[in-house]
Symmetry: C2
Amino acid sequence: MKQILSGLLLILASLWPAMHQAHAADALPSWNDTATKEAIVGFVEKVTTPNTTTFIAPKDRIAVFDNDGTLWSEQPVYVQIAFLIDRIKLLAPQHPQWQTTQPFKAVLEGDMDTLVHSGAEGLLRLVAATHAGMTSDEYHQLVRDWLRNARHPKTNRPYTEMVYQPMLELLAYLRANGFKTYIVSGGGLEFMRAWVEDIYGIPPQQVVGSSLKSKFEFRDGVPVVVRVPEVEFVSDKEGKPVAIDQHIGRRPVMAVGNSDGDLQMLQWTSAGDGPRFGLIVHHTDGEREVAYDRESKIGKLDRALDQAAQMGWTVVDMKNDWETVFPDN
Amino acid sequence: MKQILSGLLLILASLWPAMHQAHAADALPSWNDTATKEAIVGFVEKVTTPNTTTFIAPKDRIAVFDNDGTLWSEQPVYVQIAFLIDRIKLLAPQHPQWQTTQPFKAVLEGDMDTLVHSGAEGLLRLVAATHAGMTSDEYHQLVRDWLRNARHPKTNRPYTEMVYQPMLELLAYLRANGFKTYIVSGGGLEFMRAWVEDIYGIPPQQVVGSSLKSKFEFRDGVPVVVRVPEVEFVSDKEGKPVAIDQHIGRRPVMAVGNSDGDLQMLQWTSAGDGPRFGLIVHHTDGEREVAYDRESKIGKLDRALDQAAQMGWTVVDMKNDWETVFPDN
């Protein structure tokens, strides 16, 4: 009986991908039938068809995604910055020195230009001030509590509804085809881990981000790992391929981003042998989202856009390629 | 048709674990029928039986394993040290300053005491000197070439045959029960990644180890990630829970080690809520392997052994619990 059942199971399991693949196009209903969708589906079918020269073994099907501006909206300000601003304001009475120290001063004065200009390092100083001494669990709880109540300044929707529906579908489509989907973001590692499993289906071990150092200690006799206010790693620009090599240890076959911060990740992915796929989300839709690229302070897309044609990267024209931008309420 | 097939598949898939579980004991043939094996199987059955208070969801089934002395032999010297010694000797003519600089001097003079005493930091300086400027792929190739020809000084077998057969079975048994198996070792990350997927079935993204910093650069127009001679992280003792929190982002439910270097990983794993399993490999078999614990320079097991009873950790008595130690030729 066991042998018959296991034989049947193997036969059915082998039929399953074929049945599934035939319906691949349905997996991306929020993508219009343009060349972009065709390129994505073409790549996935090409690398998952056995006994071809372009077949990629499941263990090598690694896809890396930037987060801000690629999986969810980053305008008018990175969501993590909105969180940090609220947090810094809440804690400011206990830290009078923040009135005169950057980037805290910029936060308290609402000086977004200075704040954005302080970059990933400045962001990590804010993270350090609001995260140090906490365990990951404690920090995750803070982030989740904030996300439940915070609203996007323009749409008044929770930030977790400002994710891109076509990208949710792309993540699921890739996973259904044996890909492991990773986030590789300049944003804070623990800020993302607090919610990305629920929203994107990406588990914590597949999240790579900027991080603080930690230490192991006993707190009231209980062993804990707590953050210390010192930058461990900035996972942006050149830091992205470095973080991928360190954390994943395989070169991705697919990289998805939206800004020059993703350029090196795209370059490094494309330089591998065999089929590779680079995808750039170009924010062309000023009506349903925000139109921005070369001149934007947040999510500047300039050099990566210039290199796209030469490198064979596919560029998403958000306005024309996406039937829907955000999930329905 | 598709619906019928998928329905059948789901039914069969749901029967599969039950059929499989009934034969769990067969999965560990190199383990004698002692209390140790009973404890392991009891834990796995307890946490994989649905609709019980002890059930652990598959996503939380994280098991972490030390490598040296836990998955393969670490006596008379860590295998990575043997590799580094051969490598340093090969490169020494081009580095005259090594004759007078530790830990290189110790290597060239065969002074193992000084070498072992230089610890993980000393080891990483040797790694830095032999790895810097290389990509991961280049380093993996060096390690694989060396492993093909190197032989264990006592048994004359390839080091990759000095792995513990009962632990190979335990890794496979856990994976068959939905666990993700990770290595968390003080040893070099890339030294392990070169071979552990072939030997243990553990993919590179599930290997955590001590590491050097890297940089992204263009080499003859090709983007590469290369190591720089600077220590990034030492994944030993207190570093193990820190590395787990950073890399995996979930607290393991099972930790397996063999020395005081694994104590903090065991403590941190055990401090989580719900069922937890700590396992310590005690090297009690002087005939088939090497008997050592409290006084050993390599793989010293002292404090962790003292705490085992109080913490409820299971201790493997290698001599009595293992029917076989190494795989058959």
